[in-house]
Amino acid sequence: MSKVSEPVRERVWDPLVRIVHWSLVITVVAGFLIGENMSFANIGWHFWMGYATGALLLIRIIWGFVGPAPARFSHMLTGPRQVIDYAKTVRKRSPSHWPGHNPLGALSAVALWAVLAGLVITGLCSESEDFFETAPLAGYLPSDLRLEMTGLHDDLHEILVPLVFLHLGAIAFYHFWKRENLIRPMITGWKWVRRD
């Protein structure tokens, strides 16, 4: 056994990270459900969920450069070496006590944000030929590019779904296999971590 320090309770997730996270849960789930059941009556709401998601992502990305350490990209994006090292230990039936995003989880978070950003951008350039609605940037594009963007928007949502389930699956894996609750820290901010 390597030398292991005792875990301490620390506030790793600042309020902005938590508020943005749970707000994204609401806007993305609502946006997805409306998108899947789109109608003349609710298409406007799909647009609003997209704008909100875009604003939240923008805030989160800026926070990734100026926020506290656990929120920063420089802190969460390590390198292939650390990712592999962490991946080797991930099967252990003990909590990670990681002070923030672990190297593997960070990749999943960044992938989610990237796909969401792609959905927002392509969504802003899309049009609905069913309900005669065009997103704010679609009017500036030639019609073939607009269709391309609409198609891409559709493709990206097919990638989003497995990424969300991977995210949820990882949380369940940590909960039941590694006996580490990752949900409570995202609500309270406090997490048992090990500093070494």
Partner: protein
């Protein structure tokens, strides 16, 4: 001699440039069908556009204009469109020209059913169009739903 060669080359180049688009312009029967149905949907579009505009509040409700558009859409929905959908006019056969999925031909009954839904929606529109904006709005919603019902199942998102 030199100028003669230059002139011949220029003439050949010119002939090639002029004749190339003509050669490409000769449509096959399937390409003609694709053009016809895209024209058909342009006519659908020009009639449905104002109805959606009224329902959204982008343009003022006008009972007469709404009724005219509804009647035109009903006539369009009443057409037998199958002669615009010959075999071989699907997207895999005409990439870049058609968005029609080959599923249309393997599930022709389902596809015809979608056009019948379009007809039901235009029946509702004809009944509602002249009776005020509150009556028009749900009928336009049903029209959009019938567009979506077919697009989601039988048409690709891009060419």
């Amino acid at each position: 001699m030199r100028t003669l060669i230059m002139k011949s080359v220029a003439a050949l180049a010119l002939t090639a440039t002029v004749s190339a688009p003509i050669a490409m312009a000769a449509d096959t029967a399937e390409e003609k069908a694709v053009k016809a149905r895209r024209g058909y949907f342009q006519v659908v579009l020009i009639n449905a556009g104002p109805l959606f505009g009224m329902a959204k509040g982008d343009i003022d409700y006008d009972a007469e204009a709404a009724s005219t558009a509804a009647a035109n859409l009903d006539a369009l929905a009443g057409m037998n469109v199958l002669n615009m959908y010959p075999a071989g006019s699907d997207k895999p056969s005409l990439p870049g020209k058609s968005r029609a999925q080959d599923k249309i031909w393997s599930d022709l009954d389902g596809f015809i059913g979608k056009f019948q839904d379009f007809g039901k929606a235009t029946d509702g529109l004809v009944a509602a169009a002249g009776n005020g904006l509150d009556a028009l709005r749900p009928a336009v919603g049903a029209l959009g739903a019938s567009c979506k019902g077919c697009h989601d199942n039988y048409r690709d998102k891009d060419f």
